[in-house]
């Protein structure tokens, strides 16, 4: 018993000193996993960039199941990590509960608004970025039919779909949009086989450009599109390199920048809501050597024009989450 107590005491002291000595930032990745080549990987790249530039270290944690959320968050906050950054809307409820218990810790959440005094909420205007890639999809399509494959059926993903559909209609009012969601559970972020089958099903309906906003499932979509000889559009990270010459573009969401900035601000993280829109460089379409040949000069001009208009406020892209409806697409 006494031995046990000694051990426990020693462990507690260790934990305390560790907590006091380093106020490292921490990051929690959502269920898609740190290397989903998409959303979470972008966050990881931001953290790595910070570590490389400052020489600092950070704590990280990958969620394995839905049940771990609160526990994971509390554990990181208890170790003295500051700030704690988390990726994904699913942390919203949990953070709302946990944040008041750690008033001295700053939290940052990406993709969700949490109204607490010590929380920074970063949201992106995905509909604007999706609008741009939607225009490119419509212009690259020869059949006049384009596809959209979402991950889990949540308002956030519908926001992608809606902006995309508006962009498609802007470039080609007669275009047909085929939209599918992979599923309604978090497993929908990680089912590449189903993603591939959805892509094939959409191709049989005439789609020849498919936009995947589906985390790890999107890898299957891009793969199937490449196998079938049609074009695909990546999401969140620049995924053009996955199948050079067969991925039209990627709707990049600069999650990496947000994580990088949150880490840089450190314990003095500015709280409140930050909207990362097209103007702020939060979203964009990706151009590199891998898709240079696919994007014609006309496409580029048209998209850049639309981009300027959105930035100037001349084009308003509808935000699905504002009223849960979409004028360009029915779900």
């Amino acid at each position: 018993m006494s031995l046990m107590q000694k051990f426990l005491g020693a462990a507690a002291t260790l934990a305390l000193t560790a907590g006091a000595a380093l106020a490292d930032p921490a990051i929690i990745y959502d269920l898609g996993g740190k290397f989903d080549k998409s959303f979470n990987e972008a966050a990881f790249n931001g953290a790595e960039r910070w570590a490389k530039e400052t020489g600092g270290t950070y704590k990280e944690l990958e969620m394995q199941s839905e049940a771990q959320r609160e526990q994971a968050l509390r554990r990181l906050a208890e170790t003295g990590a500051n700030p704690v950054v988390m990726t994904g809307f699913a942390f919203g409820d949990v953070l709302n509960k946990v944040a008041p218990d750690f008033p001295d810790t700053r939290f940052a959440i990406i993709d969700m608004v949490v109204d607490q005094p010590n929380v920074k909420s970063v949201v992106f205007t995905e509909e604007q970025g999706s609008y741009l890639v939607g225009m490119m999809a419509a212009m690259a399509s020869k059949t006049g039919t384009v596809g959209f494959i979402g991950g889990m059926d949540i308002p956030l993903i519908r926001k992608f779909a809606c902006g995309y559909a508006e962009g498609v209609k802007a470039a080609n009012p007669d275009a047909k949009i085929v939209a599918n969601m992979t599923g309604t559970t978090p497993a929908a972020w990680n089912d590449p086989v189903k993603g591939a089958e959805l892509a094939k099903a959409q191709k049989s309906q005439g789609a020849d450009v498919i936009y995947a906003a589906a985390g790890g499932t999107g890898i299957g979509v891009l793969q199937a599109a490449a196998d079938e000889g049609i074009l695909s559009i990546g999401v969140d990270s620049n995924q053009n390199y996955l199948h050079p010459g067969q991925v039209l573009t990627s709707m990049v969401k600069r999650v990496d920048n947000s994580v990088y900035e949150a880490f840089k601000e450190g314990a003095d993280l500015k709280t409140g809501i930050v909207v990362m829109d097209l103007k702020a460089g939060g979203v964009d379409y990706a151009m590199d050597d891998n898709n240079k040949a696919l994007v014609t000069p006309e496409m580029k001009t048209a998209v850049d024009e639309a981009k300027a208009k959105i930035e100037a406020g001349e084009i308003k892209v509808h935000d699905y989450m504002s009223d849960e409806t979409c004028p360009a697409l029915t779900f």
Binding site: N180, A187, P192, K194, E197, Q223
Partner: protein
């Protein structure tokens, strides 16, 4: 729904049903011998990882397939040792193996390739590419049957045909060979098999290893045929659907073919909600379609389509003398 759309859905059905069918037949051997196996999922996952990794390293999909089978057989062997030799609880052993597979696959893939628990994307000879069946081109012009042959039956990876051939083979082994008779007997009444002087232990091990081989093919097909590489948890519950199909099929090989095709068809139909809406006139929520295999299994278990009776000695470790 026009004929072309139906063909497309059936084509998708074939691809989706093949891993289910292999896993279902795998479970059939094991359960017919009296060893319940919840670990089909884990074995498939293990096989997918091994096949994806070795195909990427060796550049040859057939070596990848062998590695997948080997990985799955190791898990089958562990299940056998736990539940046959040590007479442990078969369900717990199976569940445990599922958990182990879920973790160890990512761990091994990560330490091998440093790509976050994925195996590198495969291409060319590292994958099972579609095979055109003979005369597919010329037969395609024959009305009705031609397109069916060309679209649905032709143009799949080699392992889809292996899965289809495994059905008559399994039927023949189970009902036309001495080994099959003994296998069925050992699942119903192991004591009588033992009395006849045949080793219960050896029979059951053989059955469990066959399960390993078939699960290995199923997993390898997922990583190297359907997809181009292994990803974390990529089997996404297909091992459990295969178990449901096995119950729905009442532990019989031809019924297994029908039930997995039916379940595959539901999965393919869930990919085309527009078709369903046009055919029956109203919107069916996709999750309802996803749940259909399980609902059907419950109906089967409730005895609405004839009673589904599992092998009588299933789940019971065999003790020679008390």
């Amino acid at each position: 729904m026009d004929y072309a759309t139906l063909l497309q859905i059936l084509d998708s059905t074939m691809r989706l049903a093949a891993p289910l069918l292999l896993a279902c037949l795998a479970g059939l051997y094991s359960e017919r011998a009296g060893i319940f196996d919840i670990g089909l999922e884990g074995k498939m996952l293990m096989a997918a990882m091994c096949a994806g990794a070795v195909a990427a390293l060796s550049g040859n999909v057939w070596i990848g397939l062998l590695a997948g089978i080997a990985g799955s057989m190791i898990f089958a062997l562990i299940h056998g040792v736990a539940s046959i030799t040590f007479r442990g609880n078969q369900l717990i052993s199976g569940v445990a193996l599922n958990f182990v597979a879920s973790g160890i696959t990512v761990l091994v893939a990560q330490s091998l390739f440093r790509q976050g628990g994925r195996t590198p994307p495969l291409s060319g000879a590292e994958r099972f590419n579609p095979i055109e069946l003979p005369f597919a081109e010329s037969v395609a012009k024959v009305p009705v049957v031609g397109p069916f042959y060309a679209e649905v039956l032709s143009g799949h990876g080699a392992l889809v045909y292996v899965a289809l051939l495994a059905v008559p083979l399994t039927w023949w082994v189970l009902y036309r060979t001495r080994f099959g008779l003994r296998l069925r007997a050992v699942g119903e009444n192991p004591a009588s098999v033992d009395t006849a002087g045949i080793s219960v232990i050896r029979l059951r091990y053989t059955a469990v290893m066959i399960t390993g081989v078939l699960c290995g093919i199923a997993g390898a097909y997922m990583a190297t045929g359907l997809q181009a590489g292994f990803g974390k948890e990529m089997t996404a519950g297909r091992g459990y659907i295969a178990l449901a199909a096995l119950i729905f099929a009442k532990w019989r090989p031809w019924y297994a073919l029908m039930s997995t095709m039916l379940f595959g068809f539901f999965q393919a139909l869930a990919l085309r909600p527009d078709v369903l809406k046009n055919t029956i006139g109203f919107d069916v929520p996709v999750p309802a379609l996803d749940a259909l295999p399980y609902i059907l299994t419950v109906i089967a278990l409730a005895g609405f389509v004839g009673r589904a009776i599992p092998p009588r000695a299933g789940g019971e470790p065999y003790v020679k003398e008390r």
